[in-house]
Symmetry: C2
Subunit: 446 residues, 2 copies
């Protein structure tokens, strides 16, 4: 069967867009830092078929473009590949009608080393398009044929460097390799009348997942030999390598994280996982003055959010220390303004955050904490003074920073103080965990 | 292989606990109402193996007992079966050490028609325990042998009545039936050296899911005949019916909702699905006076929460109308206190909610809305007046009611009013969607 044009008219030969600036590995922000350790010792590129329409999702948007925390799923997958320094090029195959949108995603989230090609009507045809772009030395193309090519899905955003390294290394040795997982359900074979014919012994089979990797020449040869039937109805690249090149793929045990976002529930799961990952580190920022409450608040937060790394940093000395924290991808800040009616500390922090462009990839939560004592100032007045936060929050929300205020009651009584700090920690935890933009600008009270 | 005792010492013969009060179908609250339509026309019971340890979840609690919105997963599954009137008995197999905890769950969430038996060390042995309890007429046991038995998993909480009816009806005709789903991943067979031997053609196989149903005599016979090897290592009940009773199960296409909670991400997904389901209906409650803003707020909420059913009801006439809403399982209330400094309406509503015991199964969100105008009263004073809500929220939280206050700015300017109503709707939507108990008692400002 001939490839159908994806956009309605007959497509030009799929080729790479001339964008990829190539370039050094910039460690563009990751939810987990690149291990930056072992390298496979050969040239590597990746191909991502992303031409699917996501019919199983039950939503009109193709699943790779569904937003998670307002960013399309595919951007998370690109980010996961991008942070692996030794992947030189990433070729993404999208339909002609999504080409522009994809281009916008690459610009907006500052993805590097990406080239776009037009996808085919099936998964195999899209992969083939990507491989062709790598194989052919086109004029003006910065792509070059790699020794090993990774094939991954646009809808598996949680792929880690170690499994990529494992499949690439195994592919170098065996010609082909792919990640596998144990089966979750028993697999059965139905008879023609819709009844059980037989069930497979679960332990003897595996689910084939992604990523997979191949010696480029092996998989390119396989696709060139491949029958139209296989291009149209096949699902398994490892099978093509076996069938057309007699290359027996090495199977590599993958982690549960490799699962494919298929149904709407998977989007929910992905969102929760991403939220959890970016909530793993909280930085408490304080003014120049020493502050005994900060230590207590830090303790309470650690209690509230087990397994979360809570540190505190002064905002002084042009915040060099804080810059480091920002570089290390901390997406949660608690800014303590002690006994102050103003919010200079918070403003300074927000300035630094905006400059750092940290919030390009994830919404950054900032909680502006103010302590108050009933005795020194009436509660109502205090709140009124702090209503600036509403306007300010509106402004910074445009740059993906979620700002809330938190007033912590600060009585003389030690036990009562502990209680209000504890409640403060609960509120901060809720704001960080949920990351709900509907609540920005609110002034909460502990 | 002989069964190992689950509690450390050799178990007594597993048998039913003498608890089930039997009883009429009370339609105990469901996220979706029972269709209460067709019935299978035969006696039906269900067996739920729940003795697993959830090793794949990576958490110490067995997955069926993992909390979702603070309620154990298995309680959701019981609720899903319970609301199906024609399932007479539900037999749950749990380990000896979880017997007491399970008992507590049944009491706390008021589950009906449940009997407990001690599970075996494998899934098949647990199911066999459940079947034995139904087969034997024990003294003091209210259980009796059903014509058809459903086997379901404790960790598939979203089973719907229609698929239960389908498998039961098919089992009545064919002797056995089970739900199936298309495969998500390609299934491959590894060779002994960890390489690809062959891949299965995805379209020719299915994933076997739950629920399944059997003529009781068929499956009981199969288990009695069953080899120790099958009891120990088998995974598929349909296969046992085929192997030992030559009964070819009818395969019924199930919905994606039937998936099994297996990994931590599945718990996240389940929580999001449950939150979404209980957020589908919002009731705006108002005082006796007519109120023009309520209509506008209703519109804004409908805009904010597409596909959500928003209705408004007066709180007058002893709230008979409102009782109906509560009966229909609405878990979200917006209580409007117009131009009032007090909160009588909210208190009245909270009283009704507590009486209704609606919050036994799900946290109920109540947003107490207060309109205010800068001109009539200073903002700070207004807020101070409304701080009662913090203490009150603490009280009702004990009964699983999540109370927040919302102050909506009410200017003369029509456009500004619309803007603050819109922001109010956004905040209400955030509170309802997230259902975060960390924010109860807060007074938010729109």
């Amino acid at each position: 069967m001939e490839p159908r044009p994806s956009g309605g008219s007959k497509p030009a030969e799929p080729g790479p867009c001339l964008r990829s600036p190539g370039g050094a590995c910039q460690g563009t922000s990751a939810y987990s830092l690149s291990s930056a350790g072992a390298e496979p010792g050969c040239s590597v590129a990746a191909v991502l078929p992303a031409g699917g329409c996501g019919e199983r999702m039950g939503v009109p948007t193709p699943k790779q473009f569904c937003p998670i925390l307002e960013r399309p799923l595919i951007s998370y997958t690109l980010q996961a590949l991008e942070r692996v320094c030794w992947i030189k090029d990433i070729v993404v195959a999208v339909t002609r009608e999504n080409m522009e949108a994809m281009d916008g995603i690459i610009q907006r989230y500052q993805h590097k080393r990406i080239s776009l090609v037009e996808s085919g009507v099936t998964r195999h045809r899209s992969i083939f398009s990507g491989l062709k772009a790598l194989a052919e030395n086109r004029p003006n193309s910065k792509l070059s044929k790699p020794e090993v090519v990774i094939i991954h899905d646009a809808v598996r955003p949680f792929v880690e460097e170690d499994v990529l390294l494992k499949v690439v290394t195994a592919a170098k040795e065996h010609g082909a390799a792919g990640a596998v997982r144990p089966l979750v359900s028993t697999v059965i074979s139905p008879s023609a009348d819709g009844c059980l014919d037989h069930s497979l012994e679960r332990a003897r089979y595996k689910a084939s997942e992604m990523p997979q990797a191949f010696l480029f020449d092996v998989i390119y040869e396989a696709y060139q030999q491949c029958s139209d039937y296989d291009l149209e109805f096949g699902t398994e690249c490892l099978q093509l390598a076996l069938k057309y090149c007699h290359t027996k793929a090495k199977l590599v045990e993958g982690s549960p994280d490799l699962w494919k976002v298929t149904y709407k529930r998977d989007l929910y799961a992905a969102e929760s996982i991403i939220k959890e990952r970016i909530s793993q580190q909280i930085c408490i920022v304080m003014g120049t003055k020493e502050n005994e409450h900060v230590g207590l608040l830090e303790e309470m937060l650690k209690n509230e959010l087990k397994q979360v790394n809570v540190t505190s940093r002064p905002l002084c000395h042009a915040g060099r220390d804080l810059q480091q924290i920002i570089l290390e991808q901390c997406y949660n800040f608690v800014c303590v303004n002690v006994m102050n009616f103003d919010f200079q500390e918070t403003q300074k922090l927000l300035g630094m955050l905006e400059e750092s462009r940290l919030s390009i990839l994830y919404p950054v939560v900032v909680v502006s904490v103010h302590f108050f004592d009933y005795n020194s100032v009436p509660f109502g007045e205090k709140m009124e003074n702090l209503m600036w936060i509403r306007e300010f929050a509106k402004e910074v929300k445009k740059r993906n920073i979620l700002l809330c205020g938190l007033l912590i009651y600060y009585p003389q009584d030690e036990l009562k103080l502990q209680e209000s700090l504890r409640q403060g920690a609960t509120i901060i935890a809720a704001l960080i965990k949920e990351r709900n933009s509907g609540l920005v600008g609110q002034l909460l009270v502990a």
